[in-house]
Symmetry: D2
Subunit: 409 residues, 4 copies
């Protein structure tokens, strides 16, 4: 435990990472740099600075960054270009934030000459993998300290005892048994795991949800929303252009108001176990629906199908922590290429948990051809007789096979 020089710690300011900070100081006797990011989790960051100072962290070693625009622009939006969903349902809200944190940890390590990073993710989850794969990809010889995999503070009691001994302030919540769930939040979602939820046959409590009202409590009046896309990304809502983070903030507000984006599922973790999670992704749920709708009129059929075929693999890469891996980047190259023509608008209806596509169009890139699609006479735009040959040749291999079978009987 002696060859550690300087550690960059992903520090939230909460109890767990405060204990980690102290434990690192106690056990590694090393200089510590704290990094706290605003990813839209909706918490004040300045208290983290004050706490870090109390631990004796030098002011110049305290990094507090507002990463919201970078997060949405360079991580969330690229992911949504692929209509990315893990295991049919999960919108990857936690997964997509980790590579950005990994990147910043490494950026800071390089800037400060640190040789080590540390984080508060447990040894059972996906987040340790996502942080560390990212870190290793970006700085191959970085050292990693994952206290949850090393220390003996595995029970709540031991952790609180350590905090108390170290003079770390323990708020009421923790004294009363800690948060009822393990939560994680950023601009894309808030997640709930653990405790009561560990039994997949137990229903989540209504009181758990934070970002969305229940559909029952949502307004009785539907709200309509016009979404405008450029190159596959949302650039305006109801005619007002806004930055990526502003788009997502506004969609979260709208989705939350209308009870949109709650999800309760059992997912397969990369480390090999099944896990139950509840998620609120109000803005993301709206984005996914809208993006599918704008692609439906602007993307070529076979390009859309190619994307659909590759999507589960791309989703798994992000879920498993391979954002910075070359295969994710190769897939992104293809995905981004297809979005050049994904321009236009979609009109959505938001109502009590539902996001419904009402209409869609693209002045510049629609591939919808009414003269051909019409059920009425089309003036020769499409020759129905062509279909006979089309079917005959597509059937040929099956006809040959059936004839061969018949001949042999």
């Amino acid at each position: 435990m002696s060859d550690i020089n300087k550690v960059v710690l992903a520090y939230s300011g909460g109890l767990d990472t405060s204990v980690i900070l102290k434990w690192l100081q106690d056990n590694y006797k090393c200089e510590i740099i704290t990094f706290t990011a605003d990813l839209g989790q909706g918490e004040e960051l300045e208290p983290a600075r004050q706490k870090a100072l109390k631990f004796g962290i030098k002011p110049e070693n305290i990094y507090i960054d507002d990463l919201r625009e970078e997060f949405v622009r360079d991580f969330v939006f690229p992911m949504f270009r692929a209509n990315t969903v893990y295991e049919g349902e999960y919108l990857l809200g936690t997964s997509i934030a980790r590579p950005l944190i990994a990147k910043r940890l490494i950026d800071i390590a390089k800037a400060t000459g640190a040789d080590t990073i540390s984080h508060g993710a447990t040894g059972k989850g996906n987040d340790q993998v996502r942080f560390e794969l990212g870190a290793y990809a970006l700085m191959p010889n970085v050292k990693v300290i994952a206290p949850w995999r090393e220390w003996d503070l595995l029970s709540r009691e031991k952790l609180l005892k350590y905090a108390q001994d170290a003079g770390i302030e323990i708020d009421m919540k923790h004294k009363n048994g800690g948060a009822p769930y393990s939560m994680d939040a950023n601009l894309l979602h808030i997640s709930f795991e653990g405790r009561h939820l560990e039994n997949p046959s137990a229903e989540a409590e209504e009181s758990m949800w934070r970002w969305t009202v229940s559909p029952e409590a949502a307004p009785d009046q539907a709200e309509f929303l016009d979404v405008e896309f450029e190159h596959g990304d949302i650039v305006a809502l109801n005619g007002v252009r806004m930055s990526p983070a502003t788009v997502l903030t506004e969609l979260n507000r709208l989705g939350g108001k209308h009870g949109i984006g709650r999800l309760d599922l059992v997912e397969n973790r990369y480390v090999g176990m099944k896990s139950r999670g509840c998620y609120e992704t109000p803005g993301g749920t709206i984005m996914l629906r809208a993006h599918r709708a704008i692609e439906s009129i602007t993307l070529d059929r076979e390009v859309a199908h190619l994307k659909d075929d590759l999507m589960p693999r791309y989703a798994s890469l992000i879920y498993n922590g391979y954002w910075w891996a070359p295969e994710r980047i190769a897939l992104q190259t293809l995905i981004d290429h297809t979005q050049q023509c994904v321009n236009g608008w979609v009109r959505l209806k938001l109502y009590k948990g539902n996001v419904t596509t009402m209409s869609r169009d693209s002045k510049t890139d629609s591939l919808f051809d009414m003269t051909i699609a019409t059920f009425d006479e089309d003036g020769g735009a499409y020759n129905q007789a062509d279909a006979g040959g089309f079917i005959k040749l597509n059937a040929l291999r099956m006809r040959i096979a059936a004839n061969a079978r018949a001949r042999r009987k």
Copy 2:
């Protein structure tokens, strides 16, 4: 037009197929067998018999079959085992009925010695392909008459004129301009296309929908539903065992009541054009959600991912009419194999358009291991230190690459 002997016609009893019946008699001078199926479209079939008799069809040449159980058991359920969705949204309600109709047309042709089948699908749509690919696969030398690709009755006026001249009864609806939409229904869904919908930027009218109330009009009280699965198929609702068709009928009732399963989309037809369709699939929407939920605790991760990777291809095969093709059957073999362990129950909440998974379990096949998933101490069931090696080796190729890049700079 002379080498046709006997024709089996897919006959609904409606105006279009009645004109086809007459037109076949006029133009091909051949014996005609009518086939009318109850697939759960919710229409009386006996009138079709009376109409056929009026055209001089011999009583023994009139086939009217109730195919509802076969439809759900052998087509809908197998398809849902794969969580099948076309282009991210469409539940394939029309597509999945066609192969059964094709099969019955050919069964009847073989039983009656007919050499030809005929149907009322147009030359622009997918249904002609689905009927004919199925027919050719099952009877490779069958002849096909697709009047819409042959005749000159392409406008509504000409068709009505022909009907009038032939003494075919034209009801008020058609006199007033015909159905406002092209509709198709079976136990899985009802679809709407054409007319007003041909413009994808025009919103569908509320009055169009038939099977579901609007979410706004749905009950203010949620309803909970217990769904039980065996081998991936639903066998009981709220503890009551029922047959496949009864399951779907009941789910349609529940879904329709709660405003569930409306969809408005633009899809890519196999014949090469984009087309706008609106669908009501109340029961199917509930089934899909429930099936994903039961798989989430009973399927191995990699098996689930394999299914997800193959699903879009499987969906395209069904959409494009390849149900009876050997590659669909090969995929089905794999899919069915995976469903052996998909047993258990799911509890759903139905409320104003939403189907929400509340809880799920499997007494016999759950792979959810609480002792491992827990955030609390697990008594050694999982060794957190293992994760370090897991991450290190998964990162190795990226670390080698980054080191190689660094060495070369």
Copy 3:
């Protein structure tokens, strides 16, 4: 047959396309532009000019282009970047030339104001599809005349009679029954189909092969060859830099000399039938082996596997004629992206039909790390204990499942 204005004809100067030229003049009374390409098929092109003049084609309407460099640089090389093989064996020699011909036909049509193209491919083969899909993609309203699908000259006798009546010179070969095989050649390969080969249980005759000696007749002395790659393309042979077409010409010479690249197979045509073909692809066979070898040390594992997973789809797209389709272009974007680091050299041994990789290296992009791969002590570069955790977590889902099964017994 009256609305044709000007036709660009893919004209080889041979008997078939000469009959087509005359037949177009007779039946369409239209102006004709002939296009003859040097794709490395090894035939003189000037005779085609003389023949065209004899038919009264205006000198300015005779296009004769040397496309060899463009063919290899923009078509063959991009295809080989993907290690493209159709159905496990076929190197796509015919398929890859068609999109270039389609492109030139359309370029010339646009330059001359022609509204129609014509070609000599039959109605049973893949080439008609490749020509026409390309043409429609590049000029959507172009008209296509495919005489073999229209005329009644379907037997050899009728064709010769027509030629004779038209005063077309018929050489000895055709008088004696025509070429023993249907052949197609370009810089990538020569193909043989038809006649004797139509029976897949009949062996090809040794006398058929044109470009390669038999392995038996090849030199008894092996020859070694150094191949140098930049960005996935071969840029030098034995230390001598050369242009793309020169590379392939030289590889054909070497491969032909050493009996390399013969292939006898049954393939599945896009139009639905199986077909037997024999191919000589001497240079391509060498390129494929070399490209795999250079990728083996420069490509990341998962990127290589992604390419391998996508390759059959990419191969089918090219085989089926979709070179100019957006999905092929999207895949190419990904493929080309991966080739940035495919730089280095490969040493091959050529001997009596065999191409053997002897060694390979990349000064700039090798990912082979000897310090890690070694069986000897590695000084801690790799911690063998990591493997334990790696295996444990990869096994976890299977262990949980086996334990669950055991508990239930």
Copy 4:
């Protein structure tokens, strides 16, 4: 190190596993069961028994099994049904033997009440993963001792010293520095790794190869071979029916004689590094060629393409050690289903390193239809005009897109 009761050791009788045996006795003080398998590696097994006895292993604890038939029938043949090749070249000779060894280790553990298995694979390779994943899947709570990941005998000197101290006989080869390569052999192949080969730019020495003569040294006369398939497996050679292991033994003899099946490559290991390997797979190389040929006339096109698309994933599963995983079994279900119709014969020519398909046929399952494939008049079996419609509809989406682009300019 005290909770180990009984260990089943995969014991070859060679120096390394003898040291392991002794080391286990010294360190774990546990009862040891040795398992030695004849997989066709071509070594006497009885000496292993004598050596085990010398270490004090009880006679009833010495298992020596001839697994050759099971190996080929249940592992090699199923794998070849998929035309399985890893990374385009490697025939998986080592990978496919490991799951059988894992299965026998566990069978014996269950039969003898052992709680632990042990093997001699290193911590850098794939084999440890293959052994252990298999073991955990079949007996989830088995303990595994992998001495190479635990002990400190990592250098050759230390190992020899330990052996000497333990009175283990060290033969001349090892005294002289050990085998020049790390080798592994079974009925499918022999592999070479390490030492001189660790540098991928160094050429393998001719003297290394064991099972095959060089092409140069192979007979000057080609030999022809008739291979007969039933359900995708070879059942007869030159008209003589034989058992699976006999088939492969005979193909190895023939391939070895004709210099067939040498391979020199760099592969990507599952543990994250690139590794250079040389392989001789004479019989397997012949089998692959023959199986592709018989499938070419008996498999439907789309079924064949589905298999080709899935093959790389299936190959990776086997390479990575997931033979006993549910996703491999699911894929196998599909693969085996497709082989029902893979019956017939293939005629091959073997000559100086080349395996060439000469002809192929299937009396019962050929899908090759000469009446349709012919270039001559086919009497209407195929209507060439159908191709026009086929092409038109396949081109439609591209034409619509091009027209839309043109309209906007």
